[in-house]
Symmetry: C2
Subunit: 168 residues, 2 copies
């Protein structure tokens, strides 16, 4: 543990170091955004072309797929990190189209339970399979042995950002 002191977590930085870190942080953010935009755009395009479906709709089904007994509606915005108001029309349409059901709770009339239908589950499974293969196609040339390392770095990144958002 003696070596820990060589790079203290909050060392004072001189101007040049500070500037360099600033630039690196900005570059990191731009790369992150570029990667996400590229992949998201292609996935969205394919969802539309192949299935006439959108990603937010798919995301809702993905959450419900692992919940055979359904989910309290209010859980969806939390899990998907979107606003509650946003989900209302999306859930509306998924119900209309027969992919899911929405039933008021008998215990608490404010609460609604959303649940995948049999047809919804079938459609989701089919789309999820394609989704996986599209991703595999896009990422095929990324070295397999570095996938886990990158996932780990992003996990840590997510952690520090979340901490920063929780604290102040």
């Amino acid at each position: 543990m003696a070596l820990a002191k060589e790079s203290p977590p909050v060392s004072p930085k001189n101007g040049a170091d500070q500037e360099a870190e600033y630039r690196a942080q900005t570059r990191l953010w731009l790369r992150l955004l570029a990667c996400t935009t590229l992949i998201e755009g292609e996935l969205r395009r394919r969802f539309r072309e192949e299935f006439d479906f959108t990603m937010p709709r798919f995301d809702v089904l993905a959450q419900l797929d692992r919940e055979p007994s359904g989910l309290v509606l209010g859980e969806l915005p939390k899990r998907l990190m979107v606003s509650a108001g946003n989900l209302t029309p999306i859930v509306d349409r998924l119900v209309e189209d027969g992919y899911i059901t929405r039933t008021p709770s008998t215990l608490d009339r404010r609460v609604q339970i959303v649940c995948m239908t049999v047809e919804g589950r079938k459609a989701f499974r089919r789309m999820a399979k394609s989704h996986g293969s599209w991703l595999a196609e896009l990422l095929a040339e990324f070295p397999t042995d570095r996938l886990d390392g990158l996932i780990g770095e992003l996990d840590q990144l997510k952690g520090v950002v979340r901490d920063s958002l929780d604290k102040p």
Copy 2:
């Protein structure tokens, strides 16, 4: 170079390996999306609260900041990776609000040149400074000595995705 054969770029994989890679690729995508969503949401929130401004508007100004002589309007959708139709109302409002000018080219009446105004540049600089410090705050706890490594990985990821999109 003799060692290269130990991990050929396109080795046939058995079922279990294939499955594991599939899962890792999906996890990578979900982490990427989560990091971007977290950071983007916070930056958007602060832009709105501090400056009553939006990120797409800021992004347009950022492109114009480094182009003292202005930019052909058609360059913006390419650089920002958004659709052209999308930019029309955003540019409209930036012109209305006095941040930029839009002047038809004398050589080709289809073309328009957009250019930052003095006030636009001043406002942009002020916002860019805050943007940098918000990012620094969010990423403060990420180890400085791993920033460049992560940027490199994301650069490579961006490269393989782009190649995959260009080729087929």
